[in-house]
């Protein structure tokens, strides 16, 4: 039977959700900057967009501090970045990965 401690489950799920929100926020920011550079945002739109992102910053910081998950979110976020880097590297540098021997695990016959 699988035993899950309720506290650690909450902690894990909350960390995951907050991290994903951060990732989405990054994607939004990048888009916002593209628009900014494209010159198709008025000063007023820029301000509204920036304000919204700032409010999101504050909300996220508050949630993280409130639940004591600042460190675990940072860990997970970095872990996700590494995974993404790896996937991108696989696309750009297939040769490096082509003959990677699979990890057979530490089993003993």
């Amino acid at each position: 039977m699988l035993e899950i401690d309720e506290g650690s489950l909450k902690h894990g799920v909350l960390t995951l959700v907050v991290t994903l929100v951060e990732v989405i926020q990054e994607a939004l920011e990048t888009q916002a900057v593209r628009r900014l550079e494209g010159g198709d945002l008025t000063e007023e739109e820029q301000e509204r967009l920036g304000q919204a992102l700032m409010e999101l910053d504050e909300a996220l910081d508050e949630i993280k501090a409130e639940h004591g998950i600042t460190a675990s979110v940072a860990d997970l976020h970095r872990g996700l970045d590494d995974v993404v880097d790896e996937v991108i590297d696989k696309l750009i540098n297939p040769a490096r990965w082509a003959d990677e021997t699979p990890n057979e695990g530490h089993t003993i016959s």
Binding site: P94, R96, A98, D99, E104, G105, T107
Partner: protein
Amino acid sequence: MTDSTFRPPDKSAPMEPTRNPEVSLSDLITVLLDKGTYLNLDLIISVADIPLIGVNLRATIAGMETMLEYGMMRDWDEKTRAWVRQSVARHFPLAEDEEIVAKMAGGYFHEGWTKTWRPGSVYVTNQRLVVFRREPKEILWETQLAHINALRLTDQQTIGSELRTRLLIDTADGVTTMLSASAPGRIRELIAQQQPHLKTPRHLAPAAEESSQLSKHAWYLEHRAGGTLWRGGTVTVEEDRLTWRAPTDARHAVNLAWQDITDIQLTEMRAPSGENKALHLTTHQGDIYLGLTQPEQWVGLVSQRMLGHGNSKEGSDAGN
């Protein structure tokens, strides 16, 4: 903004490496878990019926991959071959009496209702030529060597505007199939050795080339403490520069703006590309040697780019 750059007082003193575990612990753990792999656990334990083929195999595993790619397996002793057979056969289905001759990364150009490359590994055995994908397991394409009527190499422009040499294979069923492989020339050679009657012209004329970026496999001569070493990688001609990079390197080991190159010529030198001549670039960062196929064509190409960027190439016969 204040200048917070740390300026060390002992400018000329060499840096000392640290063994302080507080600094190096995570690196040490990475190394001991991922590297130092003279032995791999599964080799020594799971492969129970091959007792302790270990260090000498694992230690040279990288070298073996290269040797396998170049089809040098026949030079190995029976035990090593048995191990390779077994380790490969764990995921690649071999027939009775079938032996792997070479294996390399590659793919098969699938022309169904859509035209797509299907990537996998290209295997040359003593019986077949196979494009195989390990995950999920599938034979993407295969032919008996006996069914091959002709085998040609051709240069093709990829979507990424790179120039790649492909294999064109005419089979007995009247179909021509295109394969990619990391060393297509080597496949042609290995099959020609086994099927001496085959028509295998060395190379077709490359397709007309007008793109701003092209690249191909090239060997770069690196100077090390013990001597020199040819390293395999990719040379790329870009709009404003020439680069070379090995797949395991983080960045380009050669990264030259056209203005940085003062001269290019051919020099007598035998690189693993098989040609007797290599490119010799004189640059602001020292002499650089690159070994690749069709070196003459590349001298022309590079000279042209240099001229285009206001470099006078000494001894160039450009008559314009």
